[in-house]
């Protein structure tokens, strides 16, 4: 499994995406989506002074020189193997939106249910970018939003190592448009949860409270209902829910584990 993996779901501070090192693929192309191409266009503009680093960066990216990449709010970091034995450390930073900016972004995105649906479907429709632009913000980073940092001696911006990371980052954006939003500062769950709250229009109590937390003040203020009696246990351990068959998964072993767990639970209940 070499696909990107999302870690941490609860907030901007911990939201991150890990892209494992990709194996060499000599014919790999970059910029499969319009927003991915927009990212690369920004990169090219930034590289106007040293354009010859970009083809080398592509070659690096294709040859698997970029190690595991960690994408967090506002940045992407990876080690890139260059000419020296010790890999260089590259950090690509993208200008983050402030909280007020995000409020405007969310406001623009929440206007259409289809925006969230498209993002979940792995698409970043131009409408989203347009709606956000109408709110005065550019969702897609421009050349000035990007800063790169590499431990190599090359003074070019970007150097070929940083360029390589940018290409890998573009790939990630192609498959997961939420990566764009993360680079701007908010993770997927943040975005979805914010949109959810806005959709609720504040008209319901649960919506105001958000999904997973309650303010301690409310918790201590609320009246509690009487505790329901525990549901009665089954007379005998039940058969586990049937699992779908598989050629690769040992379904029998899993079913046996569930069966044993049911027996244990029944024994605990006496």
């Amino acid at each position: 499994m070499t696909g990107p993996r999302r870690r941490g779901t609860d907030g901007a501070a911990t939201a991150e995406i890990v892209v494992p090192r990709q194996p060499p693929a000599s014919r790999r192309r970059f910029g499969g989506t319009w927003w991915g191409r927009a990212w690369l266009a920004a990169l090219e503009q930034q590289a106007a002074l040293d354009p010859n680093r970009l083809p080398r960066g592509r070659t690096y990216a294709r040859s698997g020189a970029v190690g595991d990449m960690l994408v967090r709010a506002g940045s992407a970091a990876a080690r890139v193997r260059g000419s020296r034995p010790e890999p260089y450390r590259v950090v690509v930073r993208v200008a983050r939106f402030g909280d007020e900016d995000w409020a405007r972004v969310f406001g623009a995105m929440a206007g259409r249910l289809g925006h969230a649906a498209a993002l979940l479907d792995g698409e970043l429709p131009p409408d989203v970018v347009d709606d956000v632009a109408r709110a005065g913000l550019s969702l897609l980073p421009g050349p000035r939003d990007i800063t790169v940092d590499c431990t190599c001696p090359d003074r070019a911006v970007p150097c070929k190592h940083a360029a390589a990371v940018c290409y890998v980052l573009g790939d990630l954006m192609d498959t997961d448009p939420f990566a764009v939003l993360l680079l701007r500062g908010r993770g997927r769950e943040d975005v979805l949860s914010a949109l959810r709250t806005l959709r609720g229009n504040g008209s319901g109590p649960a919506a105001a409270a958000g999904p997973a937390t309650v303010p301690a003040a409310d918790a201590y203020a609320r009246a509690t209902a009487p505790l329901p009696r525990p549901l009665p246990p089954p007379a005998a351990p039940g058969t586990p829910v049937p699992l779908p068959p598989s050629d690769t998964v040992d379904v029998e072993a899993l079913t046996a584990l569930a069966t044993a767990a049911a027996a244990r639970a029944a024994a605990l209940l006496g």
Partner: protein
Amino acid sequence: MGVEVTFLAGGPARTGRFAFWRADGPVPGANDEIVVAVPGARGPRRRRVAARVVGVPEALPDLLDPDGDTASHRAWSAAVLTGLGLVARGRLAPGRTAGGVAAWRALPEPAEADWLRRCAAAMPPEAYAVPVAGAGRILLPSPDTLLSACWDALADTLTRTGEPHAAAEYAGIPVRSADRYAGWLDTVDRELGGRVRLVVRVLPPDEPDGPFAAVLAMRSAADPSLLVELADLWRAPAEVLARFGGDAETDVLLALRRAARVWPALAPALAGTTAESLPLSDDDLDALLGDAGEALAAADVDLLWPAELTERGPRIVGTTRRPAATGPAAFGLDDLLEFEWQGTMDGESLTGDEVAALAEAKRPLIRLRGRWVRVDRSMVARLRARRHRRIGAGEALAAALTGVLSTEDGAVDFRADPVLADLVERIASLPTDVATPPDLAATLRPYQRRGLAWLAGMAGTGLGGCLADDMGLGKTLQVIALHLHRRTLHCGPTLVCCPTSLLGNWEREIQRFAPGTPVRRFHGTARDLGDLAEDEIVLATYGVLRADGARSAASADGSAPAGRSLAARRWGLMVADEAQYAKNPLSRTAKALRSVPAVARVALTGTPVENRLTDLWSIVDWTTPGLLGTLESFRHKVAIPIERYGNADATARLAAVTRPFLLRRRKTDPGIAPELPPKTETDQLVPLTAEQVTLYEAVVRDTMAEIETAQGIARRGLVLKLLTALKQICNHPAQYLGEPGPVAGRSGKVAAVDELLDVILAEGDSVLLFSQYVAMCRLLERHLADRGVPTLLVHGGVPVRQREERVRRFQAGEVPVFLLSLKAAGTGLNLTRASHVVHVDRWWNPAVEDQATDRAYRIGQDRAVQVHRLVTENTVEDRVAKLIADKRKLADAVVGGGETWLADLSDAELADLVALT
């Protein structure tokens, strides 16, 4: 104050822990410090307290006690007890965390989900008092997320107690990625319905002319009764997601996008902040009732119509229209019936106004009789078209039997007119017994009497039928009884068509069971139908029928002598024996059969026709023309759906149509078996082929001349030589001539063996074939091998060990046909598997013959055995058989000495015995 209990959710679920703490002091066994929110003068504040923080297994003993000191303890006890019950019922499944780690999860059903909500509402703040990380306002995890996490923790803990052998990701404690399960886990999610489905619910307007609306809703795939409108999801997401699972919102949004893609009318739902409902135009309704509805279903979107629409709306029934019943003769299979459509709703005919309202409806749904109904345009068109059409009586009869008429536009309900309904009623309640005709020289067994009653009833209605009893149950006898029964009704002569090999049999059986009934063979060049008696039975072969049909077709101008053509008169009863031989509907035989007019037609077959549907069609279409429709439509609507796809509806419809016309009893039927004698013996008369006749006559002529001039031992020798030669010729010319072949087409007996084996093997039975001659056995062995019939052969030259091996294989059912020669007939062969015995030639020694038969029929054998003795007609075999039969009546021992008694006959006696007549 007592010890408070707080659950600390973890990822993966099994790393969740319980914290036992008290706000006012230390707690026994404290091993950690935690931060909790405690009430303060100006609102809650954080406080660091000592706590005993333990994993789920260690915490369980404390929590199994439901009567804790504190409300938080009692709440978590109740949660754990209910969660354990969930796991004990097997409601758990493998899953993965958001971070892709393998973890078990609990699968609450609606009852538990509901309980969880109530418990969450009852939880005191202490039960979830550990704040989530972060500065500023103190936020606590919501009780319902903690309850879910606790149940998942139970599932993820109780599964991981042993040493992991397989599926280590789900059996061991260490945290491991679920990556290698990823695709399968998606399937699990889909099947177990952690997933939700989008529902488009069509809402009728309050006013008849108002617009319809589509309300968007979501339903749990696992529990379809859990249905929530999307409006609720937008308003109170936490509550809804707690019931549906955290991914529900994602699933619904994706489903909505998918739905809008297949049906763009839904696109506006994605354009606003939220989507709750959409107005539906009349065109939208049309689309939802048609293509769009199918496309949405294919995209896993459920479409819910108002309940009243799923009830039966107006529908169309076909009916035949005729004057009131005028008696049994009013129905003829050749008739064409006036046919018309009627509209009904709830069992009442639609009025003209209602039909007009349906026809003028602008939208696909209108209000009729106080409820919304769907307008079926093609139905309305048919109701409005005043054109009458006609259908064949057979088709109408089939429709009346099934209640359904199949049309080009699909099946519609059918309402039988009174005459037709009366007919269906009559064949459904045929008498099960009729008086045995007094002139029948046999006693009918009970099932044969039932068969006669059925035949008489079906022939009486003129509808005909197919008697498909197993061989040996006496089909011939039942038909002879039918002829005698119908004679009293003055129905006219009976025509029996059969294969050449059975012609002699029929004649003998008629003479035996209906003595005095005129019978004639319509056979040979001098065949004639002149002076036909009213109660006569005419026997004709299929070959003659074909030739006759060809000739009358060739002379359609009527130049053929009417008295010589089978088709020139209408028969009172026509019988097709071994009707499966005419099964190819395009064959000349089938065509010739159809060309002969008859009041009633009865087909006889011993093969299980119901298993070969086009054979069944051929037979039924002859007995009851039109009943099964054209062969083409039968293939497409019945045979292919049943044979290729096992279509249960088509099977049921076919059974409903054919059941009244088909009577099949098996020897093994519980009602039949006890009625059967353990052993039945039949002589089957078979004709000689032209080659056999020529050889036979030449040998008789030459050898009789020699015998007349010989004396003593020489004469005896010549007589025995003659008899042997004739027996060999009767068996097969190749046997007499000492040729290896060819075998097929030269011997009446071989043809008869073929016909017998066809039926016997089709019934799944085993058979012994006996001959005195190893040479004949070998000819049969070769011939059957050519036809793909596997055989075993045992003769005197086969070593004991091989003989035993072959007997074993036969007894084991590996090979159904066993050939034996006389010399092999030593004792000790146990061949009880056979339920048929065929004597290819006669032993002329009843004792030997009985011994051979007894190989198959032994004490302990629970099946009836049928003995078929092949006898060439009008030959020395035939006459000796009669002699033996007469003698056997006196004493079996008279001819016990073998065949030598024949040598003592006089020349004249001998000449009579061997002459071909």
